[in-house]
Amino acid sequence: MQRPPEDATDPFPPAGGAPPAEPDPAAFEQALRLAEALVFASDRPVTPARLQPVLPPGCEARTVLEALAARCAGRPVALVEVAGGFAFRTAPDLAPALTRVVEVPRRLPRAAMETLAIIAYHQPVTRAEIEEIRGASLSQQTLEALLEMGLIAPRGRKEVPGRPTLWATTPRFLEQFGLRALSDLPRREELVSEPTLPLAAPGSGQPTA
């Protein structure tokens, strides 16, 4: 059951030598248990830094978390890396059954999704700049919906006349879309690769819109 850490960035010496930290199996097993319990109990992603002090000496938090993720693969509740930490998430294939009893919020309308995408790619960005890109005015309702879901937050003011608020995405945004970091977003150049069949339908994938 127990696996050695599989950290590709750290090819550990095959034998002999003195691998920096190859903790004894019992300690590593305990580390896995502690990590699972801590991440399971938490309602926010647990960073390696948060886990580290809890672990037995010689266990490196990220190694433990990655080993745990591998061990949990295929379980109904899997460990995923998100928003700078690790969190348990239900397996996507179970969603149809779960949504029969778990309440699911309304999906964001197209205008809100576009606004969110613009904030994600242009942050920090003012409301006027968002409107400029969309070529349409931004309704208060849309802004409030994004704020209420905790997906965006003000981040300072732009030093121009009127000092308009600058908007940026939050860690909650990363969690919502299962991103480890903003750098997980597709690069801008990749967004429109096939000019003729671009994003087949803006507003697709949103059957409720």
Binding site: L38, F40, A41, S42, D43, R44, A87, F88, R89, T90, A91, P92, A95, L98, T99, V102, V104, P105, R107, R110, A111, M113, E114, L116, A117, I118, A120, Y121, I133, R134, G135, A136, S137, E175, Q176, F177, G178, L179, L185, P186, R188, L191, V192, P195, T196, P198, L199, A201, P202, G203, S204, G205, Q206
Partner: protein, 257 residues
């Protein structure tokens, strides 16, 4: 709405309601050209836009100002683009056309980004987090939130309150009688060779100003009394100046006589 529009491009002009603004419509028209956005013909785009707007006007007279502003701007842009090469402001028109294309490309990108996001497995829709987190924290309430200012404030408040509640009772005064002043003066004056200020003969430790003034008055009376009896001499060089006192010397006796 836009979905229907896309499947039947010629019917685009039926309404503008499905579009979020002129740029939205322009992007849709550009897409209908089925070429790379970078290679679209701005001139044909302008014609299509104006045509759609014209149709919309036929249906409904009221069209929001931003649609008309865009129409006017596009018409101007088209005229510039069609002018012969030698006309000076051509470069401007090219740049403006390029800027419009850039805006359309950016909008297209953001649409794609929105679609990409919408296609993710979203928390609370396709995947779920722990519904009720366990709090693995324990509150240590052994510490005390109190600092020195709070302590001092408490003391002042307690005293003020206690004093305000207490009925006023005048403090019994310890007054220095003339008899006491006489006794002290006669005891002390013998040891003083020269003039001394009256205050030196006050009892010690009088902090209360009232008691001090009373003692001063008693001592002055005692001094006057003693001077009348010939025991001491008093002197005051100017009004309100210090009152000086000394033992009466023998010699002036004769003078007095």
């Amino acid at each position: 709405m836009s979905e229907a529009a896309r499947t039947a491009p010629p019917a685009l002009h039926l309404t503008l309601e499905g579009f979020e603004g002129p740029l939205d419509l322009l992007l849709e028209l550009a897409r209908a050209q089925k070429v790379d956005l970078q290679a679209i013909s701005i001139v044909s785009l302008v014609d299509q836009y104006l045509a759609v707007l014209e149709q919309a006007r036929a249906v409904r007279l009221e069209i929001a100002a931003d649609w008309l502003v865009m129409a006017a701007w596009l018409a101007w842009l088209k005229s510039r683009l069609l002018l012969p090469e030698e006309a000076a402001p051509d470069e401007d028109a090219e740049a403006l056309a390029g800027a419009l294309t850039d805006r359309l490309v950016e909008l297209e990108r953001m649409r794609a980004a929105a679609a990409w996001l919408a296609g993710r497995l979203q928390l609370g829709y396709e995947v779920f987090a722990r519904g009720a987190a366990e709090s693995l924290t324990v509150q240590d309430r052994s510490g005390i939130a109190a600092d020195l200012p709070a302590l001092l404030q408490a003391y002042a408040a307690a005293r003020r309150r206690a004093l305000a509640r207490r009925p006023y009772t005048p403090k019994p005064r310890r007054l220095w009688t003339v008899q006491e002043a006489l006794a002290r003066l006669s005891r002390m004056v013998g040891g003083l060779p020269d003039w001394s200020v009256l205050q030196r003969f006050l009892p010690e430790g009088l902090a209360d100003p009232v008691e001090r003034r009373a003692a001063l008055a008693s001592t002055l009376i005692a001094a006057l009394e003693t001077a009348r009896g010939g025991g001491v001499e008093l002197r005051q060089d100017r009004p309100f100046g210090p009152i000086l006192i000394r033992r009466r010397l023998e010699k002036p006796d004769a003078k007095a006589a």
